[in-house]
Structure formats: structure tokens, C-alpha cells
Subunit: 196 residues, 2 copies
């Protein structure tokens, strides 16, 4: 299992945003859409051993489970539509209980700190200022944590600093979050690649 | 300089397609949009030492030059809009002369074979059935050639087989074209990474 936590700082919690303006009115939701696609989609089919947590404004969290996920295609507009369904389903939340919006996608009242505390895997921060990945021995169940176009807030950074096993950067170039997910997958995929 | 040639088999040459249906009515133009974004965009700014050739239906080719490119943001809809401008400008083509549609983007009557023959760099095929990249010593000026959601046609594959210096796959998993571009960049970026 590989987990990814992606923090959306400006994505609206209200699902009433236009699919035609993901980079503007939807608070750079386009980035989160590409992150979801990068986390799950291979050329042929889904990675079923992946889980993604999208934290929206430190209040709501959408969880995507690869083993149960349906209707996901890589186009941004498609992913945004699934996320919008998830945000709409948040109206049905009672207390702490998650609500399933479409197969494999649930939404719950969860802050960033709660998501980090609830991870099954070991948190690993992906950050431009982290240590080079070439020196990094990944844990058995890595949970990569990364931010959208904005940096982590001070509170998020503090929470991560105490929880994360490592702070890693994936190359000398500063990357978009979705590209970082693609490279993190490839890094794990190619461990032992020479004998595959 | 790094070059990428991406073949779009079903993208319409007619610019009269809806930006709301890139994966359907626009012949999986969404893939090509993500390829362009992956080729040029870092977290902060453009890679100016990159050139991308999008071959549309083996008739028209849009060339993107990083050194001159303007108005590029990573959202699919934004890239699709630039491509639509390029296809519209194709009406002004006279003979072999390229037409610039927006800064850094030109369109010309070029087939796949003509693009391959005109590359400044050395063609390297990226393909799911290629040799593992770990055994690959990249040329000084690699020109990675890859296809959209469809495989190369027999004619394209034959042309590539005679022109390409290598046929490479980037990992054990089969990847979407845009993810392959991200990983190819990272592969080149991280050569000598330990001393950066």
C-alpha cells in the first residue's frame, strides 16, 4: 500500500464551482485532479494498492481507495467531477462518520492533523527543500505528504515535522505536486527494477 | 536541449472542438495537454531548454519552444486553448513555412516522418516494450518520441525503428505518456544528482 496526502489550501468546500474554471474559481483544483490521476492511473488500469487523502481547507478530507475506485479517468474535468460529488456528499455527514459519494471515494470531517494521525503508513514529507531521494530508504508503507501550489501552513509544517519519518525531494528541480507523485511511484516501482 | 515528440492519432486538425470535452470530442487531446505541461513546467517557471513537437494526425505539427513560450499554465484547458489557436493558425500556412500562433508556438505541414528527420537531437523511443532505462546512457541531446493513448502505427513504428538510437521503458509499470515525460525529465535531471 502506498498512501498520498495532498493538501488543497484554496479548493472550495462548497461544490458549487464551475468545471470550466478549475484553476481559478475552483482554487487550483486542477492540481489536485492531476495528483489523483498520477496516484492511481497507469497506462492500463488502476493501481489498486494506493490510497489518496485530499485535505480541503483543513476541514474536509476526501479519501480515494484504489481497491474500490470506479469511474476514474485521467482528464482533469472527470476527476473534478468526482471531487465535486464528494464535496456535495459532505452535506450528509453526521458527526465523525464518513459518507461515500461514489465507489471508492468517501468524505469526512477531518483536519490535516487528524489525517496524519490516522495514516496506516509512515508519513514522508515531499518538499522542495528536503533531502535528495537518492539517499532515502523508503519505509514499507510510505505515506507521502505534499502540498498544492501553496506551501504548508506553519501549523501543518509543525505537525509534519513531528510526524514524518523523512523530508525528501525527488530531484534537483522544483516540481509540481502531481509530477512529484509520478516520480515517487516510479522511485518505488523501480526498486529492484533490474531483476523484474 | 531536450526534445519530445508526441503523436496524437485522434486529435482533430479542425480547431472547432469544445474545450469541455477534451477526452471525447477532441480525440484525447487531454493527454497531449498534460504532455506539454509535463515537458515545460516546473514548480517555479518554465524549462526554457525544451522543445516539444505535437504531431496531429500525421499532417500538422505544432512546435513549442521553451525559450520563447508564453501564456502556458498547467491546466489542461489552458494548454488546449493554446493548441486550438495553433490549429486555427494552420489555415494561414502557405507551403512549407511554419506560422506562429502565439509566442513560442508554431504550426506547420509536417508528417511524423518529417518531424523525425528534422530533429536536432537524437531520437529515443519511449515505449512500454523497450529496454529498462537503468541500462540506458542518454545521448547529449535526447529527443524522446512517444505516442498518445494509441500505439504507433506500423509506418510510424518502422520509421522510428530505423531512426531511433534506443527504445527505452522508464520502469516496470506501463505509464501514460505525460507521466513518462515527467520521469524522463527526472531521469536526466538526477544524473549526477548526488553532487548537485
Amino acid at each position: 500500500m502506498r498512501e498520498f496526502v495532498v493538501v488543497g489550501h484554496e479548493v472550495p468546500v462548497d461544490p458549487d464551482f464551475p468545471l470550466d474554471d478549475l484553476a481559478g474559481g475552483a482554487g487550483r483544483l486542477d492540481i489536485l485532479c492531476r495528483c489523483v490521476a498520477a496516484a492511481f492511473l497507469r497506462s492500463h488500469g488502476l493501481r489498486t494498492d494506493v490510497r489518496v487523502h485530499l485535505v480541503v481547507q483543513d476541514r474536509l478530507t476526501l479519501r480515494f481507495d484504489g481497491a474500490e475506485l470506479r469511474y476514474l479517468s485521467p482528464e482533469e474535468r472527470n476527476v473534478a467531477s468526482l471531487i465535486r460529488h464528494g464535496l456535495a456528499a459532505a452535506e450528509e455527514i453526521v458527526g465523525r462518520r464518513p459518507v461515500e459519494s461514489t465507489p471508492g471515494i468517501t468524505v469526512a470531517n477531518r483536519t490535516f492533523a487528524e489525517v496524519i494521525d490516522g495514516l496506516e503508513g509512515t508519513p514522508v514529507e515531499l518538499h522542495e527543500d528536503g533531502d535528495p531521494v537518492v539517499e532515502f530508504a523508503p519505509p514499507d508503507r510510505p505515506a507521502f505528504v505534499l502540498s498544492d501550489h501553496r506551501d504548508f501552513s506553519t501549523a501543518e509544517a509543525d505537525r509534519l515535522a513531528s510526524a514524518a519519518a523523512a523530508r525528501v525531494r525527488l530531484g534537483p528541480e522544483r516540481l509540481h505536486a502531481d509530477h512529484a507523485i509520478t516520480i515517487a511511484h516510479n522511485f518505488l516501482d523501480t526498486e529492484g527494477y533490474t531483476v523484474y
